[in-house]
Structure formats: C-alpha cells, structure tokens
Symmetry: C2
Subunit: 599 residues, 2 copies
C-alpha cells in the first residue's frame, strides 16, 4: 500500500460538510448525480493514484525525459497513465454527455486533481494540460475542429499543450514574434520558436496539439495583434491520415524539479510548411487563451496544494515515528525519548503545513463552487467576478507558501529530509516551478492590484468583502470563534485602508508607485482569503462538535479548530506588518535608480 | 574570467571603512601585518576561487561523490584544492608562527572564506572542517597529539571532521551511544555508528581525523557522560607508519544539494580494533566540541552568506541583460523593451538579496571583531559574551533567509532560473542544508532564548542592547538617518517588551510555553541585529558622501543607503507582527495534543 499523501477525510469534509456539493444536483446538468456517484469517482481517482501514480513518483524524477533525434522519450508510465485516464473518461469528465463526458461538477474534478497531483505532480500535468487545451477547442473551435481533435485528446492518445513563451518573450506576451501567414487555403503558415512548452513533445502519445499564440502578418504590435492557432505536431492529410506538420522539438531543459515532465523547445516552420488553424477571432488570441490560462492557473494552485499536502503527510508520519529528545520539563536523561511530534516547535511546523494545505484546498473548492454558480445559477455576474478576483490568490498562495511549507517538511526530517531516501526533498524541488509557470507571482500581483481590485469600480473587491463578512457573521454565533471573527473583521478594515492608500497613488497617476509592491499586496490579501476559509471551516467544526460526533471524529474537528487558530495566531498576524509596509509613503523601489546596483 | 559571484568592493568597505581592521595591528600578535598583507591575502584568495573553485562549481554538483568498495571517490579538484590550501598556509592561517601559521586576524580568514564559499561551497567545506578539527587538537590536545596530527592536517593531506550524529541521535546529543572502552594502554576501543559525517571518507586525502563524541563505558547518561576522542581513519604504528584503524565507511547519502561533498555513514570497531584517543577532559566532550561547534556554526553562516551573495550577483547580471516589458507608464507597444532591472518588483527582489547578503556579512564581521577583542583586548568577558550571544543569529539568519533570497534569485530568472543552464537553482538546492547542519534552526532558537538571553542574568542581552544603542546614537547625528535610528530604537523597546513577556512564562516554571516560539524569537531578534548592521553601514556611507567621493563611489554609497532603507522598510517592519505573536498569551503549540493530528 502507498504511504499516505493526502486526506480523503478532509476532501469529504470540504465537499459534504463545508461546500455541500450535493446541492449542485439541483441543476439539471447534474441531475443524474448524487453522493454515491461523487464518492465512486473519488474512489476511482484514489485507486489510480495509489496504483499507477505514487509508485513511480520518485522513479520519474530519477529517470527524467531524454531528448534523442528530435524526439522526447518519457517514462513508460506516462503512456499507460494517459490511456487509463482516457479510458476512464477523466479528460472530459466535466463535459456534456454529447461529447462523451460525464457531466461531473468541476469541484469533483478539482478533488480528483488534488489526489493526482499529490501522488505524482509531473504525471498529472500531462492530462491536466490536455484537458485545458481540449477545453479551448470545445469552447472556441468549429464543429470540424472538435471532430478532428477532441476524440484523440479525450482518449489520452493525443497530448494538448499551451504554447505561449518564446526565447525573448515570457511575461511580456504582447511582444511575441511567432508569425502566421494566411495562405488563403483555410490555414496559416506558422514560423517561429517557442520555449518552456510543458509536454511539448513525447513518445507517450501519437500526436501533440499545440494551442499556440502567434501574430498574423501585418497585425498591429502589442496584445491586439495576437491570435490563437491550433498547431498540431501531425496534421491531417486529405485522406484522413496524419502527416508531420513541421513542428520540431529542438531540445528539452534540465530542471531542478518537476522532472517527470519534459519542458520543450519547439521550432515551427523550419521546412517552411508548418500549418496552423486560426481558432476564435483574429486579434483576440490572448483573451481566448485566458479561458485556458485561468484554468491552468487554478491547476497550478491545485498542483501546489497537492505537493504541500503530500509533504505534510510525509513529515507528519516521520514526526510520529522519530524519537528524539524529551519534553522540556523532563530533566532525567534516563527516561525514554519522545516522538518529536510532542515538541511544540515540531507541532508549529506541522500546523503551518496543514494550515496552508487545507486552507488552500478550501479556497480552491470555494472558487470551483463559484464557477458552478456562475454557469448554472441566477447571479452569473456576481460569481464570475468573485472567481476572477480570486484566481491570482488561488494560484499564488499555495505556490509561494508551498516553498516554505515543503521547507518546513524538510526541517522536520532534519538531515534525512535533505536526502533522497525520503520524498520531501523532491516536493521542495518540484514545487519551486509553481510561482513561475502560467504567470509569475509578479504577474499575479499586477493582475490582482492593477486589474482585479479596480475592475468594475471595485465591484469584485466589494463582493469579496461581502462574502468574508458573511462568514464572520456566522462565526460570531459561536463563543469559541468570536475572537477569530473579530480579528478577521479588523483585517477587512485593514484591507480597505491599505487598498485606499494604494489607490491614492493610482489617482495621482503614479502608476509605478501604485504597483511597486503589488506582490506584497497579493500576499496580504491572500492571507486574509485563507483566514476566511479557515473561519468557514471552523464554523462547521464547532457546529459538528456541538452535536457530539463519534469519538473518532472529535480529533478531526478539534484538529481543524486548532489549525484555524494556528492560522489566525501565526499567519493572519503577519498582515499587521504588511500593512505597515503597504501604507508607507516611501516607494523606494520606484525611486531608486538602477545605477545604484553598480559599485 | 569567472562571472562575478562576490564583491571585493563590499569586502574592502567592511574591512577598512566599517570595522577598521587595520586597528588590530595594535595588538602584538598582529604586529607584522598591515593593509598590504591583508590585501595580498585576499588577492590570493580571489585567485584561488577564480581559478580552482568557481570553474568546477557546477561540475562537482553533476559529478557527485561515489561510494565504491568502502571508499568514497570525490571530484579530482578536491585533492588539488586541499594541497593548494595546505601549501598556501590557509588551513592554519590564523595560527601562531610556531606552528607554521601566519597570525592573520580571523576577520581576514572570514572574508577569504566568504570568497571560497561563494565560489564553490562544497569544495570550501573540506578545508573549513579540517581547520575546525585541527583547532580542537590545537586547543585541547597534548603536544604529542599536535605533533602527530597537525602537520598532516595543515598541509591539506589529511582531512578533519566532526563526528557527532548517530542513526538515532541528531539534535539530542546527550543520548548518543557510541562507546569507548579504556584499554589501559593509552587508548580506548571505539564501537558505534555515526551518520551524516561531512567529508568523512574521501580519496582526496591520505587520512581522515575524526573528532568524535563517544561515551566511556560506565559513564553517566546524558551529556555528562560524553567525551571527545581523536579517531583517525588510519592510526600510527609503532614504527611511525600508518595502519587502518577499523573506521569503515558504509555508504554516502544522495543529497538534494551540497553534492560536491560526501556525507558519510561510518562504522567504528566492526573488527573490534578501532582505537580512539581521549582529548581534553573525560565527561567534558560536548563542552570541548563546542569550541569547534561555534566555529562551525559561524562557518555555516558564512557559507550561507556566500551562496546568498553568489545568487544575488547571478540574478543581478541577468536583470541587467534581460529585456522584458516596459515601464508601466509606457503604453506604446512599439517602443523597445527595457532591462528588467528597471521594474520595481525586480529591484525589490534584488534589494532583498543584497540586504541579506551584505547585512549578514557585516554581522559576521562584527562577531569576528568581537573575537579579536576577546582574545587580545582589555574587556575579555564583554566581548566573549557578545560573541556567544550572537552566534545563533549569525548562523541562522543567513541560512533561513538564504532559502528565500536564493528563491528570489530564481524568480528573477523566471523559467531559466529553474533550469541547470544558470547557477541559481544550484544555490537554492545547496543552501537548504544550512538550517539543518551544525544545529538545526530549532536548536538555535532554544539556544538563543533558553541560554543566551538568560545567561549571567541577562548580561549578554544587555550588552547587545548597549551596542545597538551606540550605533543608534551615531546615526542620530545624520538627518537622513534619524528616521531609521528612531525605528531601530523603537525596536529595542519592542525587544525588551517581547523578552519580558516571554520570561514571565519562564518565571512561572512553564518551560514549554516559554520556549514554544523560540524560533520566532530568534527570527525577531535576528532582524533587529541585521538592521543594526545596516544602520552602522549607513552611518559610514553618509559620512563618506559628505566628503564627496569620486563619482564612481557615489553609486556604491548610495546603493548601500538604499539597501539599508529597503531593510528598514521591508524587513524590520516584520518585527511588528512577530511581536504580536510572541506576546500572545495563547501558547497553542504547547497546549495542542498530538492526537489532534489524527483523523
């Protein structure tokens, strides 16, 4: 049996007790579903993870993909996994029955994804990317495109990618140079280079479908000139067979972690015959891509949460087994050593990890519930705004904090944590990609402060505050939670003060000063968002404890409340210092000339 | 020429302008030295680092040591480097002329060590360990021991180690079980196992001298039963030749980073004839070892500072070269992209690294100056106390913050930072060992709060406050620094309040509550200590700027002042939140039962 790397109990708690996923079956789209179908889906996910994914977690790191003669050889488990996922209907699990989907709520897909990424993040990425790419075709493609590409992608025989980054263009997508020339024959000739393309080439699949951003010849500079294309590695011939489409893989990167998945360099049109098919509207490529991008950003948040979770359980297990030292009151060296979980500093390191893992998962679940309400409920705009507003937090909080929590997992294991015999050093290496891919933390900070806070005259910002306030009101009912409720209320006031202080710069037209610390603002509001989720969970636990659950559940609910308290005592308190910095009128980094880094 | 990985300008600034190392030549021990000998020493260190160390920095990571047939094969550069260091007199550089030393101040040794560890930390460790081990023999050994072991160690032909950790004993050293049985023939028979022994076996040297802790048969349990032994891998025969001493290397660990140096498992006495020689007093082994331990802890701080420095310069260089995006005020996509160093968020990430690198080095220099004053000055006790007090900070601050600064270096490089073509991912992996070895951060926190703050009725604590206050007084003279001076003054008050609040628990006998957040207390006081060093540097810079230096120096001094301001705005402000937590009366981690981690 695999070691424990996630908690089904916690998943069930969030689904059934906090977010009441069953309520979604009131929507006709989910009418065929119930507790049992949800449970069976997650049981199956767990089996796949236990049997196919976790057992090759370390091996895929040790045997990283190899590039040979233009082709990338990946671990054999990838092909097996992709096929299994295709066969099991996982890649289109939330799609309508008409396209072979199972019409499952995306929050169930989230929880399955959490299990997969906790088991083996590198492996989980192959299908997650395919899902995102297929969803773009599903959303913006013509019927012909859907017929041509979706079956291969949904069956796991074809890989999907997002191909944005170029050698000179990463964060500044508006400057990309890959060119598309209209041939008048229904397709474009593509010429250019892309780098850092996850799963951009692999011998695990028969074809790779790149969702690629390029600039149509003659299009204006900047983002307005960018269009979205389907650029398959192998294209259809007239006779329905496949032929090579002049998409060459020129190599892969040697990465610190996340080594089970190849990051490819691609070169299109070296032989002058790389064909791409415009999807969606010309010039709206970036906007279209953001359908996939938001999904992939949530996937990054989910993947980071998975790694945080797995590292937490690895270090928890160690802390229970490892004997070292004695309680501080014990002065007799002849007494037996205690498990290190008895030491307060170890409990702190465990609580930190658990608070980030379960707080982040709760926030992600919240977003996916908003997504359902935006799709099927009555207040579409409200829930779309809330979802949009929270994406940068759900992407960044687990990614950035995960660096620290995986570091805490290593610290619990001490020297062993630094060595390959235990899995935690790999989580630490693997998670470092998350603050980079699908938009760096710097980009997320700019998105949060420069777009999300101000969009629709602050409507999303105010909706967020309303949502948090509702939870505060619920918590105030419980004596044991009123202190935390008040602390969160103070933080909402603090948030308004900080945002107001920053917006003054914007109103004076001082954009650099306004945005200089946007990453810190994202950290600040992220802490508040996670505190909100912890208070929400604590309310449920207090309620359950009142109704006296079976003994076995008391530890779970009490553990949750202690973790919530940990978060308020140790993490939420950080907002005080962040507010000091964010309201400072000295915008050092905007003022300092770059020459002062010279000597 | 090697890329830039440290700043000689900054080293010279600290030595000559801040700490006035030249003043040490007033002590007779250093009478032969002057600016020129110091300069020549560092010129030589720089050459060694440029020519022998930095060029194999990556290669030693890729070609990690291999264990075969009981022997560890290390990179061939190790042997060459050890010999060069021996020949150049580096291993006994601060020792008296009588033992072949050069009587150089330890602060010069520090700066050379910084250059070495910035160039190639794994390689630098071999000699640093030998220095520490040799120093133990120099301090506590008999003349015979000195004659037997020091020449081989000083020449770089023999390796020195510290052998403390055992499979079941890491932080809790009092529980170690390696046994020493008195034979009555002048030596003890040693039996036991040690793990995680850095450079514990290697084909780069002819012999390895382990400074080993063991328990003499019949000795009491706990630390009082521990003695220190010299346990050579090969011992002297009667005829003066060497023979194998039954110290077997059973394997090495596969580590995430710091891969150029092997971490060995050792087994003593498998054949019943491993001999150890008692050094110093029986039962005082741990106290003796702490002579070396303090040195090694400062070495860890220095090594971490070296890696932080090298990562900073790698990311600075990239930030200057890499074009991406435009200033936020620029809306025309046809304009040229700017180097990313122009973006405030990148400046923030650079300033963070620089503040930690140069602040930590300044603190280390301060400690080494205290060391000189303790050895040769009139107020021995005062400077010994200050040195002792600050060791946990000097070890931990660069180690823990270095995780974050090396992460910031990666972030500046984005996807490239995650890949092996650039060096920053290696710094990130390499530095993760530093909060673990030579006493984890948890151990340092307990040392700080449980020993250092309270020792001699708070005498060291008060001396520290006096030292900081002196700097504050000097800064108040300058208008541009008075704001920072006041902020630091407030922080001294905050420190007293926090310490007082914690000590209340101690006085009530509630040891676990007192110590529960000792790691956070260490973080808190560490930030204040680094702020002090930045204010001290800023005072010097203000003074220099008043006297109008050559144009080329203005950027250096201005850059220093901006970095000091960065530290006060972004880092020192963190103490507000830490104080909130540290003065909280809710000691969650002491209260929470471990069972609440169950489900």
């Amino acid at each position: 049996m695999a070691e424990k790397y996630f908690s089904r109990r916690n998943i069930d708690f969030l689904l059934n007790e906090v977010f009441e996923v069953n309520s979604l079956t009131r929507f006709p789209y989910y009418a065929d579903h119930n507790d049992l179908t949800f449970k069976m889906t997650l049981d199956t996910a767990q089996k796949i993870a236990d049997n196919m994914m976790y057992p090759v977690f370390k091996e895929m790191d040790r045997q990283a993909p190899v590039w040979e003669d233009g082709k990338v050889k990946v671990h054999p488990a990838v092909k097996e996994f992709m096929k299994e996922q295709g066969k099991g209907g996982w890649i289109n699990v939330d799609k309508p029955y008409e396209v072979g989907g199972q019409q499952l709520p995306s929050i169930i897909k989230l929880m399955a994804g959490l299990i997969f990424s906790a088991a083996n993040y590198s492996l989980s990425v192959y299908t997650a990317l395919t899902m995102g790419a297929a969803n773009l075709i599903f959303t913006f493609g013509t019927q012909e495109m859907k017929d041509q590409y979706l079956p291969g992608m949904y069956s796991g025989e074809w890989q999907g990618t997002m191909a944005l980054t170029e050698p000179d263009v990463g964060s500044s997508l508006g400057d990309l140079t890959t060119q598309a020339e209209d041939t008048g024959k229904g397709y474009y000739l593509i010429k250019g280079k892309k780098i850092f393309i996850s799963a951009g080439n692999s011998d695990a699949v028969d074809n790779v479908i790149h969702m690629m951003l390029a600039r149509i010849k003659g299009a204006p500079a900047g983002v307005k000139g960018i269009s979205l294309f389907i650029v398959p590695e192998n294209r259809y011939r007239e006779d329905g067979g496949l032929e090579y489409n002049d998409v060459a893989c020129g190599g892969i990167e040697h990465k610190m972690g996340y080594r089970g998945s190849p990051i490819c360099q691609l070169s299109m049109g070296e032989e002058g015959d790389c064909r791409g098919w415009l999807i969606g509207e010309a010039g709206k490529g970036l906007a279209h891509m953001f359908t996939m991008m938001n999904e992939e950003r949530l996937n990054v948040g989910m993947g980071a949460t998975g790694k945080v979770t797995a590292a937490y359980y690895a270090s928890l297990e160690y802390a229970r087994q490892r004997l070292q030292g004695r309680r501080l009151m014990e002065k007799d060296p002849n007494t037996r050593m205690v498990p290190i979980i008895e030491h307060p500093d170890i409990k702190r390191l465990l609580l930190f990890q658990r608070a980030v893992a379960e707080g982040s998962l709760s926030l992600l679940a919240q977003l996916f519930m908003y997504d359902e309400l935006a799709k099927f409920g009555d207040e579409k705009e409200k829930y779309e705004l809330l979802l949009d507003f929270l994406v940068p937090i759900a992407k960044t909080y687990p990614s950035e904090m995960g660096i620290l929590t995986c570091s805490a997992a290593i610290q619990i294991l001490g020297g062993y944590g630094y060595c390959g015999d235990f899995p935690v050093e790999q989580y630490y290496r693997d998670i470092r990609i998350d603050p980079i891919h699908e938009g760096t933390t710097g980009i997320q900070g700019m998105d949060m402060l420069g777009r999300k806070v101000v969009m629709k005259q602050g409507k999303a910002f105010n909706l967020f505050i309303e949502e948090v306030s509702q939870t505060i009101d619920q918590a105030l009912i419980y004596d044991e939670l009123s202190g935390m409720a008040k602390q969160l209320q103070e933080n909402l006031e603090r948030l308004k003060v900080v945002a107001g202080s920053l917006l003054e710069w914007a109103m004076q037209g001082k954009t650099e000063e306004f945005m200089a610390d946007s990453v810190l603002f994202l950290e600040f509001i992220g802490i508040i968002a996670i505190a909100w989720q912890w208070l929400k969970q604590a309310v449920v636990c207090c309620d359950k404890l009142k109704n006296m659950p079976a003994d076995s559940n008391i530890n779970f609910y009490m553990g949750k409340i202690y973790t919530a308290r940990y978060f308020f005592e140790y993490e939420l308190s950080k907002t005080v210092s962040l507010a000091v910095r964010l309201t400072s009128k000295y915008k050092l980094t905007a003022e300092m000339p770059a020459s002062c880094f010279e000597e």
